[in-house]
């Protein structure tokens, strides 16, 4: 377990609602090794994005523990978690989250600039070349297609050389062909950079490309395929739900 990069132990997330407290996530436990890829799948409203937010340290669970690398982020305050995110984490979002007033190059360079990285511009150029947008440095997001925008977002995420990359429905806003290309790019770069990839997706094809797939339903982890360790049930395990067609996930 030395190169375990993500460890989740008995995580619960409860939010208050009008009638009663609502359990969004219940007793989630698993761990992930460095360089593995993990897909979190499940129906809408299952709690996938909530789990992603918790794993990335963007939110805190009601109970349970999460380790990112050697950092127990559930024991940290927001400033501490921010430091861990700055050190380890990158993101790709369904809605791309590019800043409209920045060019493609500036968008990619921004997180590195914020971290005071001296070669931000050069790295940004390099990664834009890698995603095939070498000619589009000075273009603004509104001048780019959806696929191109997501490529910029992917370049931005990898340029920071994160240990863990969290992707929330990275192909969700794209047509199938473009989605395929983005997913190719994502896995290709992931392999090159030796990054641990955690993505939330509805797309079975995308999930299938991951080494590990966990399924969340009704806030519970109902299946884990591949060798993601499920804490408390160390054996690889697969239940009937994981056999459901993609449409059901």
């Amino acid at each position: 377990m030395n190169d375990t990069v993500l460890r989740v132990n008995a995580v619960n997330k409860v939010v208050p609602s009008a009638d009663d407290d609502l359990a969004i996530l219940q007793d989630i436990s698993f761990s992930l090794q460095q360089s593995q890829s993990l897909a979190i799948v499940g129906p809408s409203g299952a709690g996938k994005s909530t789990l992603l937010g918790l794993l990335a340290g963007l939110d805190v669970p009601t109970s349970g523990d999460i380790w990112l690398g050697q950092h127990k982020i559930t024991a940290m305050n927001e400033e501490g978690r921010a430091r861990v995110r700055a050190e380890l984490v990158g993101f790709v979002f369904q809605t791309f989250q590019l800043l409209g007033s920045l060019t493609a190059l500036e968008n990619v360079a921004l997180p590195m600039e914020l971290n005071g990285q001296p070669d931000a511009q050069a790295r940004a150029r390099d990664y834009l070349q890698k995603v095939g947008l070498g000619q589009r440095f000075k273009h603004y997001p509104k001048q780019l297609s959806g696929g191109e925008q997501q490529r910029v977002a992917v370049a931005r995420a990898f340029a920071c050389a994160p240990k863990l990359l969290f992707a929330d429905e990275p192909t969700g806003n794209l047509d199938q062909a473009t989605g395929e290309k983005i997913s190719d790019l994502l896995f290709e770069l992931n392999q090159q950079a030796d990054t641990t990839l955690i993505l939330v997706t509805h797309e079975q094809r995308l999930a299938d490309r991951c080494e590990r797939v966990i399924t969340i339903d009704g806030g519970r982890l109902v299946s884990s395929v591949g060798n993601a360790s499920v804490v408390g049930d160390e054996k690889e395990h697969q239940d009937n739900n994981s056999q459901q067609p993609a449409a059901m996930i």
């Binding site: 937010g53 963007l58 700055a86 984490v89 993101f91 800043l99 007033s101 920045l102 971290n115 920071c160």
Partner: protein, 858 residues
């Protein structure tokens, strides 16, 4: 991080997100710096002149000739002395005459400073001389040559004195406050003064004994003068006319004052603090509107920054780093906008100076630090008060917002933001006016005005909404939009309408009031006043006027004097200062007939010969200084005192343009003071002369000055023209400030459209997608903005008309009159301006294809 922050700021600016915040701030700072630079330079120019104004270290000033004891004391202290006498008189050359500002100076004048003279009108070889004119010489202001068609070396008559014009005066050290003296300056030697025969008892002149010397002697003289004043009070309390140990006849004291540069500066300082405060308070409306625009624009800017901040936090920036980044960016915005605003304000203040240049015929020094301080404070307080509250929540945005955009942001509440904004305004207003009370009252009045405008505007909006329900597609759409966004509509309406109202009021005053006043004067209104007619000349002047077939009002004997005691108790300067009318030397008359346009309101006009002296007083000044029927008042006239009983109070119709007096004595009371006579003459129409050339002179004036050189003929057309000039220049300056304030109103419009921009973009994209034509969209927007403009214009016109009504009826005592032109201008200005600017700001809503709009907002 700083460089990255500045980079981010630059990118925000490039993306157009900061345009409005910066423009509004620049405008606010520009208005304030223009106004305060103008006020500061004028104030410093005048104060600088005052510091030289004595042409001496010290002076004794008086409205009666300076008694010898003052000079004796100066001689005893080995001080240098010089004498001057200032008065207005007719000067003439051939047929032409001019009511000049005459100054007789003794040979030693000036004791300090130099007189600058030139030898031709165009020459720039200005010489600075340390002595004034020799006997027989007249030094004149260049404009007199044009007025009287003269050249250097020509003869000029002043009273019975003939002089040769030898120099043209460019500047003189004690020119005074120089608010463009109405008459051109004529200076001659003091020894020539008796020959003019202009100065007689009752003549209106001001005398000065100038003093200079060592600091010790000057201080000793000041101490001696203080002693003299004290003795005067003590003797006054004793109630007798006596000579004090200073050797002066004590009752003359009220007519004298010791003039020091410091004292004059203090006095002018107060006047200017008020003037500056007034100008800056008009600027405050601009700051308020700009602040409103900034608040709205910052709100939108904050919305735009939300994603950026959420991302920054997701990438590992802590709240404190984000807060620091925000602070750096805001500081940079404040610094840049303030500096730009100051620069533009510097340019605009030249426009204000240009408008006022005839009024302020003075050299202007560089401004002090104060206007820059005021401008900088305005910039930074505006940022803190209006922009910061809208952005305050940004560092607290949860990083999770990158995944869940629906997460609420903990915005600073409306009430809190409003309170911070008002507090910022209060700080600025108090700083501008140097009085917290003025600031509170001013803001309260301003908000009351806004509230009234808001209530009226809401009614108009309801009306428009009702109207829209019955109309076709784009009319209904446009009017419905107006109502649906009524909160923003109201903000725009109130900002625009109140500024436009002030602008219309000022324009109305400039363009209509004087003309209306002239038009409503009765046809027998006098056109000329005759002053300074000696007792011996009255019959001859009457004869001349009869020959010319000119009618006059009653002739009144006139002396100048002041009130010194009420029921045996000296009047304190404070009590006297309560009355604008009586605080200085005033004209007294005596007559047995109650003058026309006077009505007795209390007591009785004298019926028969009274036992002692009796007098009647104008009711307003009587109530100001607090005297009643039966009070015994002591007057000092030319250094002699007399006591009389108040037996009646009168109301006076000052509009009658007849000679009117605050104090009228029972006939005989003033005989021993050798009064001069005054009357008003009807010679041609008053109103009709306004377009005629300045050189025009009623035919009898020439004969008058030829035959009676010491008499003064005052042409009312000149006076009215002068008032008109002053009003025009003052109102034009105000109009310029208000135009800038209106520009701040435009910012509110822009910012307000900005707030609803995305919503409008989405709605119009949906409408277009559903098949509405571009024409319908443009039509609806046009209807919306045009209605907004029409309502603003209407409210502004109503408000301006109400203000003008009160000015007409209460200030000018005129019958009320409509100003249809004002309504037309108000409506047109409102509709055209708001429609044009509104459509300009909304052009993206119209031109961006619907698909792109929807994608952009996805």
């Amino acid at each position: 991080m700083t460089l990255v922050d500045l980079k981010l700021l630059y990118r925000d600016w490039r993306g157009g997100q900061l345009n409005l915040v910066v423009s509004a701030l620049v405008l606010a700072v520009m208005v304030v710096s223009a106004v305060s630079l103008f006020a500061d330079r004028v104030e410093r120019g005048i104060v600088q002149q005052i510091s030289q104004f004595l042409a001496a270290d010290l002076a004794v000033g008086g409205v009666i000739a300076i008694e010898p004891a003052f000079k004796d004391q100066a001689d005893a202290l080995s001080l240098n002395t010089a004498r001057t006498a200032n008065f207005r008189s007719m000067v003439f050359a051939g047929e032409k005459s001019h009511l000049a500002s005459v100054k007789a100076v003794s040979s030693a004048y000036p004791l300090r400073g130099l007189i600058e003279v030139a030898n031709s009108v165009s020459a720039n070889n200005v010489q600075a001389l340390s002595t004034g004119p020799q006997q027989g010489e007249a030094w004149v202001e260049p404009r007199l040559l044009n007025l009287l068609n003269l050249e250097l070396g020509d003869q000029l008559s002043v009273g019975y004195l003939d002089l040769t014009i030898t120099h043209l005066i460019v500047n003189e050290p004690d020119r005074g406050t120089a608010f463009g003296a109405a008459g051109a300056r004529v200076m001659f030697n003091y020894q020539d003064l008796p020959t003019t025969q202009l100065i007689r008892p009752g003549s209106r002149a001001s005398y000065r004994l100038l003093l200079s010397g060592s600091e010790t002697s000057i201080a000793q003289y000041q101490e001696w003068y203080r002693q003299y004043e004290k003795n005067e009070v003590r003797d006054g309390e004793a109630g007798g006319e006596s000579r004090s140990d200073t050797g002066l006849q004590s009752t003359a004291a009220p007519h004298y004052q010791l003039l020091t540069p410091q004292g004059a500066q203090e006095q002018m300082g107060e006047t200017f603090t008020r003037g500056r405060a007034f100008l800056l308070l008009s600027g405050t409306i601009g700051v308020l509107l700009a602040g409103l625009a900034m608040a709205l624009a910052s709100h939108r800017y904050a919305g735009r920054l939300t994603d950026q901040i959420a991302l920054m936090k997701a990438w590992g920036q802590g709240a404190s780093a984000v807060r620091k980044s925000q602070a750096i960016r805001l500081f940079a915005i404040a610094l840049f906008s303030t500096l730009l605003g100051m620069l533009l304000g510097w340019l605009v203040h030249y426009l204000l100076l240009e408008l006022a240049k005839e009024l302020l015929n003075i050299e202007l020094p560089a401004p002090s630090w104060r206007p820059w301080g005021v401008a900088a404070l305005t910039g930074f307080v505006c940022v803190i008060g209006f922009a910061l509250p809208a952005l305050w929540h940004l560092p607290t945005i949860a990083p999770l917002k990158v995944l869940r955009r629906d997460l609420p942001s903990s915005l600073v509440g409306h009430g809190k933001r409003l309170s911070i904004g008002i507090l910022a305004l209060l700080i600025l207003t108090a700083w501008y006016s140097e009085s917290i009370v003025t600031a509170v009252l001013f803001l309260a009045a301003l908000f009351a005005l806004f509230a009234i405008c808001g209530i009226v505007a809401l009614q108009f909006l309801r009306l428009a909404k009702g109207l829209g329900a019955w109309q076709g597609s784009y009319l209904r759409l446009g009017l419905a939009n107006l109502w649906r966004r009524r909160q923003h509509t109201l903000i725009q309406l109130v900002g625009f309408a109140s500024t436009l109202m002030l602008l219309l009021t000022v324009v109305g005053m400039r363009t209509s009031l004087i003309s209306e006043w002239e038009a409503q004067l009765p046809s027998d209104t006098p056109s000329h006043f005759l002053f300074n007619v000696a007792n011996s000349e009255v019959e001859q002047v009457k004869g001349l006027l009869q020959e010319e077939d000119l009618k006059t009002t009653q002739w009144y004997p006139m002396v100048r004097g002041r009130l010194v005691a009420i029921n045996g108790v000296d009047i304190t300067p404070e009590r006297l200062a309560r009355s604008g009318g009586l605080s200085r030397e005033v004209n007294f008359t005596q007559t047995d007939e109650l003058p026309p346009s006077n009505t007795i309101t209390q007591g009785q006009w004298w019926q028969q010969s009274p036992d002692g002296f009796e007098f009647s007083m104008e009711e307003e000044v009587a109530s100001e200084i607090g005297v009643n029927i039966g009070d015994e008042i002591t007057f000092s006239i030319g250094g002699l005192t007399m006591t009389a009983k108040l037996t009646s109070l009168r109301s006076v119709n000052w509009q009658s343009m007849n000679p009117n007096f605050y104090v009228i004595f029972y006939p005989g009371a003033l005989d021993k003071y050798q009064p001069n006579w005054v009357t008003a003459v009807k010679a041609g129409g008053l109103a009709n002369n306004q377009d005629q050339s300045l050189m025009y002179q009623a035919p009898f004036v020439g004969k008058m000055v030829q035959q009676f050189p010491t008499a003064i003929v005052l042409e009312l057309t000149d006076v009215v023209a002068r008032i008109r000039d002053v009003i025009t220049q003052v109102t034009q300056g105000l109009e310029l400030i208000l135009v800038l304030v209106l520009a701040c109103g435009v910012m509110v419009l822009f910012a307000s459209i900005g707030v609803s921009f995305d919503e409008r973009l989405r709605e119009n994209a949906i409408l277009r997608t559903l098949g509405s034509s571009k024409k319908v969209i443009i039509g609806a927007l046009t209807v919306e903005y045009a209605s907004l403009g029409a309502i603003s214009g209407l409210i502004a016109s109503i408000g301006a008309e109400i203000v003008l009504y009160f000015v007409q009826t209460r200030v000018f005592d005129l019958s009320a009159q409509w100003h249809p032109m004002l309504w037309l201008v108000g409506l047109l200005l409102g509709v055209v301006l708001i429609t044009a600017l509104g459509l300009l700001r909304s052009r993206e809503i119209i031109t961006v294809p619907p698909l792109e709009s929807l994608r952009r907002l996805a």
